[in-house]
Subunit: 330 residues, 2 copies
């Protein structure tokens, strides 16, 4: 029993990236996973194929393929780097590069270990201002025909409701929220994406405008939120995260592999739009503006399923992963 | 350069468990790791050998040994479970058991996969009340000869100073703090240990008093703080975390290994006091009551080293890992 009961506790906590939500009879206090499983089709939003980067690592020691799919974050959430990433993929730039660094409870990083591979022409230089580049996107969610008063009232009400239920306090931002599937930090002027588990960012040099998008990393531990607004985020891993997070940790400084033979070769990285139609993966995310997400986030902040004695009364934004599912057509 | 500069960013973020802090000339704005490297010997606290559980996994595929060392959390931070764990280790109970479950961004769990191995006699049944079992331990830190007013003033001052600098807001507890090396959540009545990366907890059945300490897990992803006060914590991994966190993820429900051959055998688990003197590992943690920890935590909340443009102004308690170092005598 012990296994299955600890199991019951943890069921709804899987990073819900693989459409594996349990189906069953509605429970009085459904778990977050059960809530998501009941979402109507209308609340699942298709991810555009030009926002999917499909990266094939070399096969593992058991000769099993290792595919990693990254959902790119379009503007205004990320700025010029995503355009660069599309150009790098079109140029097949990552083919033959490798995963070079795995630091426990921090990041996996990939790119050109020689640091000498020429970049394709036409990459944008993205200025420092782009780290916090957009004003409040709550405005996007409200009908444009509202008066200023109605708008202010609706915003206040929405924020109050939101904060009341889930993220009451955040250590890094005065407020946090979700918009169009992305977790954001906010202050009184602007919003920015935040470094949760599985988010993908752009390595850079000391000067903030030196990140091109060629050198990428993903978070494999406690959310390093102090990187928010200091390094650009460009997306998140939505399939195959385990192929990165379970790699052997590097024994060099900062987790770099000391022996080049330890690097994990990247066979290819393509936008889904550059794959043959039949090979294009299809994914959807659960709308963060819908009623189901509201219930799901509330249930993550206040677990009421049988295992729990003490509902937390709140949740960290990085403990409310946006549900993503793979669509397989028959 | 890119490698080394992203490297510079990340240098002080390694879970500082292996004594690998960079030594060098004092910098104007030292990184957290540089601050810790300058700590006087008097601020390093020896971990008692009866609080060290040394677990040997089977060798890996390259025949390298895999040792995991867990620092047990003594009362009042953890209650009867630690006593049970000492008895289980003395009975060699874990020898021949295995790691059975690895769920990405959540936990690694080990124990008896058959769920039928008899437990040694004399294990305590720990009641539900023990999940939040101690009143405010700030009292421990103040001289007992203080008057009530002096004590109240000292506490208020200490808390204000603490909150001002690092953890201003926590999503799960009204306040958080460190005491004697452990991260704690607090409300107005009590304190409890919190589920950060690497913390070790006790699997249990649906009823809260069913955890014995035989079935253990450690956190390998974003801190699942909703488990606080719902499952007992008993310690943290202080060496060899990578041997658990980099294991292949299980493909069964909740990350259980579907094929018994995938389980990772546990060769032995012993208290350090049961090892030959020469084989006993020695560790120290940085006092969380000292001046260095104060500076270290502040630097983690407000990075001022050259890479950073925007200091966060705060930190999550789980992003302030307590520095631990191994002591090797010459």
């Amino acid at each position: 029993m012990k296994k299955h009961c600890l199991a019951a506790l943890i069921c709804a906590l899987t990073l819900p990236s693989f459409g594996a939500f349990a189906q069953g009879a509605p429970a009085a206090s459904p778990s977050p996973g059960e809530i998501v499983a009941q979402a109507p089709a209308s609340e699942w939003v298709a991810i555009a194929p030009e926002d999917l980067l499909v990266m094939e690592l070399s096969a593992d020691r058991d000769r099993k393929p290792r595919r990693v799919v990254i959902q790119l974050m379009p503007p205004p959430y990320s700025q010029g780097w995503v355009g660069n990433i599309r150009k790098l993929a079109a140029a097949h730039w990552w083919d033959g590069t490798s995963v070079n660094r795995v630091q426990d409870n921090y990041v996996v990083q990939w790119g050109d270990a020689s640091e000498e591979k020429p970049l394709p022409r036409g990459l944008a230089t993205v200025p420092e201002s782009a780290y916090v580049a957009f004003t409040h996107i709550t405005l996007r969610e409200l009908p444009v025909q509202m008066t200023a008063e109605e708008r202010a009232e609706a915003l206040a009400s929405a924020e109050q409701h939101r904060l009341e239920h889930w993220v009451q306090r955040d250590a890094y931002a005065s407020e946090v929220k979700f918009s169009e599937g992305w977790p954001l930090g906010m202050d009184d002027k602007s919003s920015w994406p935040v470094h949760c588990y599985g988010m993908v960012g752009v390595g850079r040099n000391l000067s903030p405008d030196t990140g091109t998008g060629a050198e990428l990393y993903t978070v494999i531990g406690q959310a390093p939120r102090h990187l928010d607004r200091n390094i650009a985020l460009v997306g998140r891993v939505i399939e195959g995260m385990e192929h990165l997070s379970s790699l052997p940790r590097g024994t060099g400084d900062l987790g770099f592999y000391e022996d080049p033979a330890q690097r994990v070769p990247i066979v290819s990285a393509r936008l889904a739009t550059d794959l043959p139609q039949a090979a294009q993966p299809k994914f959807q995310y659960l709308s963060t503006e819908g009623a189901t997400f509201e219930r799901y986030a509330d249930a993550r902040a206040n677990r009421r399923d049988p295992f729990f004695n003490v509902p937390a009364g709140g949740a960290d934004i990085c403990n409310i992963p946006v549900p993503v599912r793979k669509v397989t057509e028959n």
